[in-house]
Structures are given as C-alpha cells and as structure tokens.
C-alpha cells in the first residue's frame, strides 16, 4: 500500500485478521471507502461481524484477537480512544437512550460542536423536518415506531459529523414492508450526507443498494497453531 493512495482514500482498513483462541482465523480483504460510499457486509450471525465492528470502534474484545490498521483521512486510528475516532455507531436494539427525549438524544451528538443552544435547537428542528419527523422533539423513544427510531438513530449518528458510520443489523425488528422503506431511506440519507458507512446484516436484501459488497469469509483453521 502506498502513502499517496491512503491519503486520498477516506477510509482504509488493511491487513485485518481475526484470530480466536481455538485457532480459527478469518483474514479480511483490504477495504477502502470514499466519501459517501457504503460497504455492505453479509454473513450469518455469530461469526464475528459485530465483534469486528466493535474493534473498528476501539472496544477491547475478549476471546478474539484482531490485528489490522484503520486509517481515516490519512490518520491511523488504532491507538485512539473511541470518542476521538470520529466513527459513528447505529445498533439494532437500544438504538436511542430510552430515558431521554428525541431532542435530547440528538443534542447529545451536537455537544462537541461549538454551537449556541439556540442554534442547536434550530438545527434539530430543521433536521427532523428534513427526515419527515416534524415536531418530534419532545417524544420519548418508547413513543416512536421502530422505523422512526431507526431514522432518528441514524440522524443522531450523522449529526456528530463522523467520517464513518457503522450500522450493526440496523433493520432488525422491523416488519418486511417497513424494512424495505427504511432501508432505502438509509442509503439515500447516507449518500446525501456524504458519509462513508459499513452496514452489517445477515439479509441479502438489506445490502443490495450498497456500492461495495463483502461476503464475510468462512473461518479457516491455522495449521501451525493446531
């Protein structure tokens, strides 16, 4: 890999290997994403995808050793704590803080940007309008439908202006009709925001709109270790 290409590429994940204590391992191909580009990672559940996402965030993982280099805009992130990586996360469940209103959830993402409280309020109103959830500010997450929650979770992640958003099975728990709808909306939203994203799912349908596709590799057994 040469230096020139890595500065141009927004997100570069290279030489990534997941190694389990029992000796299995998975070697991932090099991943590079441009601004606004999405990567769909497809694979059955329980094979290390979520673990890998957490490693990208910088959460120490038990049972698995993961090596590799994460570079965003030319900066190697490996030694940075989560809050300084500029990577957003959207989860399948508990996507929002249940005890806070929609506005409070969104404001949390804006706190790091120097902005008056009034500007914050206006921005939240405007953004909610944009995603079609006008006047949702004071609602609590339990008052929202699954689709609304998913949209607000993604909006919240985007408001923090990350370089990359990780979506971990974001459409689980939605019924089939709504799943399709939310899925399309998500890709549109990401493209319009110009944020690179990695979407992990076990459903092929969730990923058809992604520009890049990655089939999660089967784990191999390390002969030397055995």
């Amino acid at each position: 890999m040469n230096q020139a290409s890595s500065t141009k590429t927004r997100v570069l994940i290279s030489s990534c290997v997941l190694r389990w204590q029992q000796g299995q391992f998975i070697r991932l191909p090099e991943i590079s994403l441009e601004q606004g580009e999405t990567l769909g990672v497809m694979g059955p559940s329980g094979c290390g995808k979520s673990t890998w996402l957490r490693w990208l965030l910088g959460v120490p993982q038990p049972y698995v050793t993961i090596s590799g280099t994460i570079t965003i805009a030319g900066k190697v992130l490996n030694s940075l704590p989560i809050e300084q990586r500029s990577i957003g996360l959207v989860m399948q469940e508990q996507a929002l803080f249940p005890h806070y209103s929609v506005a409070e959830n969104l404001a949390f993402a804006l706190a790091q940007q120097k902005m008056s409280l009034r500007a914050q309020k206006a921005l939240i109103k405007e953004q909610l309008n944009r995603i079609g959830l006008t006047n949702y500010e004071s609602r609590k997450p339990y008052q929202l439908s699954g689709g609304e929650r998913a949209r607000i979770a993604l909006l919240r992640a985007a408001l923090a202006k990350p370089q990359l958003i990780l979506l971990d099975e974001p459409f689980n728990g939605l019924d089939q009709a709504r799943r399709q709808q939310v899925c399309e909306w998500t890709y549109d939203f990401l493209r319009s925001q110009g944020i690179a994203a990695i979407i992990v799912s076990h459903e092929q349908n969730d990923l058809v709109d992604a520009q890049q596709q990655l089939m999660w590799p089967q784990s191999q057994v390390d002969e030397e270790l055995v």
Partner: protein, 545 residues
C-alpha cells in the same frame, strides 16, 4: 408450547392461594389494625415537647443518609463498573446494631482511637445526629452498591456507553449523562426503601442517635410501650406522623431522581471537554480509599467486639483492659446459647421458606408469561416497619393469636419471612430474569417433570443467586428488632432483642458478646454460602464484559 405445558403444571391453585395469602395477608391485617386517630391540628401530639425537633431531625437524617448514600453508591458503581469489588458485600452483611456498638466504642470522644492518639478524635459524639447519620450511610451505601450492581446489569449500559462515546463523549460524560439517570430510575424502589428506613430508623437510633428529643422512630416505639391513656393516644397519632414523613421521603426520592435527569438532560447538550481522565482517576482513587476504609472499619469493629467480649475492667484512659478473661466471655456466650439457637432457627426457617416462595413466584410469572411489577413484592419496604408492626399489633386477630407462645412464635417467623422476602426478591429476581427458560424447556422435552428439570437444568445456572437470596433473607432475619419485640410478646428472644435489652443497662461485656455472636452468625453464613456466591460474581463478570 412451553408456556402451555407450564400452565398445566401451575394449575395447582392451592400453592397460588397460599403464596398470595402469604404476600397479602399482612396488608389486610395491617389495614384492620390501623387507628383512625389522624393527628389533625388540635391533636395532643403537636403539643409534645420538642416535636418540631423530632420531625426536623428525622427528616434531616432521612434526607442526608438517602442522598449521600445514593451519591456514594453511584460513585462506587461508576468506579467499579468493570471490576466489582467483593469487599462491599462484606460490609453489607455486618449486622447494623453490632456494627453500631463497635463503631461507638472505637470512634467516639474518649473512645479507643482517641485513647491511642489523644485529642485526635472528637468528631463522633455519643447521641448525636452526625454520628447516627454516618452510621446509616456506612450501612446503606454497601446495600445500594450490592443491589445496585444487579440493577445495572439489567440495563444495556455497555451499549449506551459505546454509542455515547461514538458520538464523541468521553467515557466519563457517557457514564454520568447517559447511564446514571437510567440507573437511578431503576434504583427508585431500593432508594425509597433506604429513605423510608432512614426516616423511621429505630434500633441504631436508640443506640447512637440524639435522645433529647429522640427521632420519631424510637419515640414511637417508646410511646407504644407505655400504658397510660395520654401516651397511647400519642402513639396512635405518631403512627400517622411517621406515615407522613414517609410520604415526604418518597417524594424526595422522586425529586432527587427528576433533578438528576433534568440536570443531565441540560448538561448533555453543552460542550464537553475530553480531558476527563484526571476526574475519573480522582474518583477511582477516592473509591479505592473508601473501599479500604470501610473494610478496615468493619474489620476493626469486628475485632473490637471480640476484645470487648473478653475484657474485664476496661476504663478510660486505659488502652487495654486490666485483664483478659476467657471465662467471663465464655460464660456470657453460654448464657446466650438459647438466644443463639432461637436466632439461628428462625433465620434458617425464614431463609428456607423465603427461598422456596421466591423460586415459586418467579417460575409462576414465567409460566404465566407475565411480569408482575417488583413493587408488589417489595411494598413491605416502602412503609416504615414500625408503622406496619404497630398496625398488626392493634389488629384483634393478631393480638389474639400472639397471646399464646406458639402463636407468637409463628407470627414472629411470619413477620421475618415477610420482611426478608422483599429484600431477597430484590436480589434474586434480576438474576433470574437474566436467565432463559431454555435449559428448563430442554429438560422437560427429555421427559423430566417441571420441578425436576428446574432442579437439574435451571437451578445450576442460578445457584449463586439462590445462595445470595438465602443469605440475604438469613441476614435480614437475624437483624429484625421491632417485629421480634412486638410480635414475639416476650416469648421470642433473639440475639438482636437480647442485645437491645442488655444495652439498656451499663454492661459492656454482655452486649458485646451478643453483638459478636450476631456478627459471627452472619460471617458463618457468608462462609458457608460463599463459594456459591463467588460463582455468581464470576458469572456476572463474564456477562458484564
């Protein structure tokens, strides 16, 4: 499918009715014993000398103990979110009366530490509000920590932390702004229990609290034990006063919780520094010091009781007694043997019954696929114990039954079970909820009956939690004072009632021996159940990762 089969098993309505009776009878009986002497403006109780101090001091203790122990517990929970320390459990299990006796001997002016380093120690006066408050805080903080951890494990707090940090907040801010308000909310019932206990505290207050005037709890019990018409009236009106203070405390817990949520909600939208390491380190260090301080104080208190039990002629300013006498201590132990056996017997019976009922109730909820709110099971903790017991005492049915020795004994055991149940439920239900019924269902598909497959397939997962629930009810039982005194009618004499009686005189050896035996009993229970509980901690460590 599983629930259909289970319903068949649980159609044993007999047990359901028995358990329902066990839980609700005390309320019915209590209601029938409530007096109508609500203290309106003209009531005698308002003329009782120093009543405003009585109320003011009770509320001060209630507010301070509740708020400070909640604050400390949240700091400890924060500091130990990854590596929970087991030392708190040790302090949590020390019987509070025994702890108070030893604490006073050690830390009061002219106490042991003062004799060791003269003039150094004049903070904790005898019969003072700060001493009492400190004692309450040092008992309630470990309680909130130990049970608070289990509440925390029921929250997806690690997910929240992850999301909050991915939004650019430090782990410090993520914890305090996102996890704390949710944890506080999940702790509401427990904190109310602490608040209610603090505002109506009797036993520790009569050993360490102010006496001129006393707090409402001890005052009410002393009124109850008088027989002239005026005092009987005062007792009846004081009952309502205590209820009123309880309501105030419950309101305070809500206010406290709302305040924290509001402040956090406001703060989370403001710009935050990422330089929080130093603050986090300070808390970690502070909690570390506190942990060892509490541990050392607990151990020192235990040793003190031991020393007092075998000391003869220990007068100010001597650092050590003029003579150690094994004989005197042993004679006192032998003299207390009946109380020791009575305490042990009642506590074992209580813990066994409570654990059985607990398991049954949880399985019943599973079978009905319905979660009954915790409130139903722990409502006993939300009213001052003294008020409840007084209501029972005035119910004709109870006063008839406890007239005979057997009746009094069983009613006392019942009261122990009922109060222990609430605490045990709090410690068992979260762990049980975290388990799935899968193992049990697999067992049943192999042809085992419901309870056999529970025993072989589900119980092993819950051994730790069961041992813990057993331990908690055991500990609650051995420390019961007011119910044993008033329901036992002099027929039931346990180490705790004996300790209070012996403390009414000037002796130090006899009360110390009673306190030491209480403590040893608690310690023994921990040692016996310890291995199972360690397993519980281990499995929790795994889960919390």
């Amino acid at each position: 499918m599983a629930s259909e089969v289970s319903t068949v098993r649980f159609s044993g309505y007999g047990v359901a009715i028995l358990v329902g009776l066990f839980l609700f009878l005390p309320w019915v009986v209590g209601l029938s014993g409530i007096n109508g002497l609500v203290p309106w403006l003209t009531a005698e109780v308002w003329d009782y000398p120093g009543l405003s101090s009585v109320i003011g001091q009770s509320l001060t203790v209630g507010f301070t103990a509740t708020t400070v122990s909640t604050l400390l517990a949240s700091l400890i929970i924060y500091a130990e979110q990854r590596r929970p320390s087991r030392l708190w459990a040790l302090t949590f299990t020390a019987p509070h009366l025994a702890f108070a006796v030893a604490f006073l001997w050690l830390f009061t002016p002219f106490g042991w530490i003062d004799r060791l380093l003269p003039g150094s120690w004049s903070w904790f006066e005898h019969q003072s509000l700060p001493t009492l408050t400190l004692l309450l805080i040092s008992k309630e903080t470990p309680f909130l920590v130990v049970l608070g951890r289990q509440q925390l494990l029921q929250l997806p707090f690690e997910n929240w932390l992850l999301q909050a940090r991915s939004l650019g907040a430090s782990s410090w801010h993520s914890w305090w702004f996102v996890v704390l308000p949710a944890w506080l909310k999940s702790m509401r019932l427990l904190i109310i229990a602490v608040a209610v206990y603090s505002v109506g505290v009797v036993d520790i207050a009569s050993v360490a609290g102010p006496m001129n005037p006393p707090l409402l709890g001890p005052l009410l019990v002393s009124w109850q034990q008088q027989f002239d018409a005026t005092t009987v009236n005062l007792a009846a009106q004081g009952f309502w006063l205590l209820i009123a203070l309880t309501v105030v405390m419950v309101a305070w817990v809500y206010v406290q919780e709302t305040l924290v949520r509001k402040v956090c909600g406001r703060q989370l939208r403001r710009h935050r520094s990422l330089q929080t390491r130093r603050r986090a380190q300070a808390i970690l260090g502070g909690v570390g010091v506190l942990r060892w301080l509490m541990f050392i104080v607990s151990m020192a208190s235990g040793l003190t009781l031991f020393a007092m039990s075998f000391a003869e002629g220990w007068f100010y300013p001597a650092l050590l007694p003029s003579e150690w006498s094994l004989q005197g201590g042993i004679a006192a132990v032998v003299g207390l043997a009946p109380q020791l056996f009575e305490t042990l017997g009642i506590a074992l019976l209580t813990a066994t019954l409570v654990t059985l009922v607990l398991v049954w109730i949880r399985e019943w909820q599973r079978a009905q696929s319905r979660e009954i709110p915790d409130l139903v099971f722990i409502a006993a903790l939300l009213l001052p114990q003294t008020a409840l017991v007084l209501a029972w005492l005035h119910a004709d049915s109870v006063s008839y039954v406890i007239r005979s020795e057997t009746g009094a004994w069983w009613v006392t055991v019942y009261a122990h079970c009922w109060f222990s149940f609430a605490f045990a439920y709090l410690s068992y239900a979260p762990a049980e909820r975290a388990e799935t019924q899968d193992h049990l269902t697999v067992g049943r598909s192999l042809g085992f009956s419901y309870w056999r497959s529970w025993w072989y397939f589900k119980r092993p997962q819950l051994n730790g939690a069961l041992a813990y629930a057993f331990l908690v009810s055991f500990l609650v039982s051995i420390a019961q004072y007011v119910p044993t005194l008033l329901m036992g009618q002099g027929y039931v004499s346990t180490l705790t009632t004996e300790l209070v009686v012996l403390s009414s005189g000037a002796e130090w050896q006899a009360p110390a021996v009673a306190a030491m035996l209480l403590w040893l009993l608690a310690l023994l229970a921990i040692i016996v159940l310890g291995s199972s509980i360690r397993r519980l901690h281990f499995s929790r460590d795994k889960k919390s990762r």
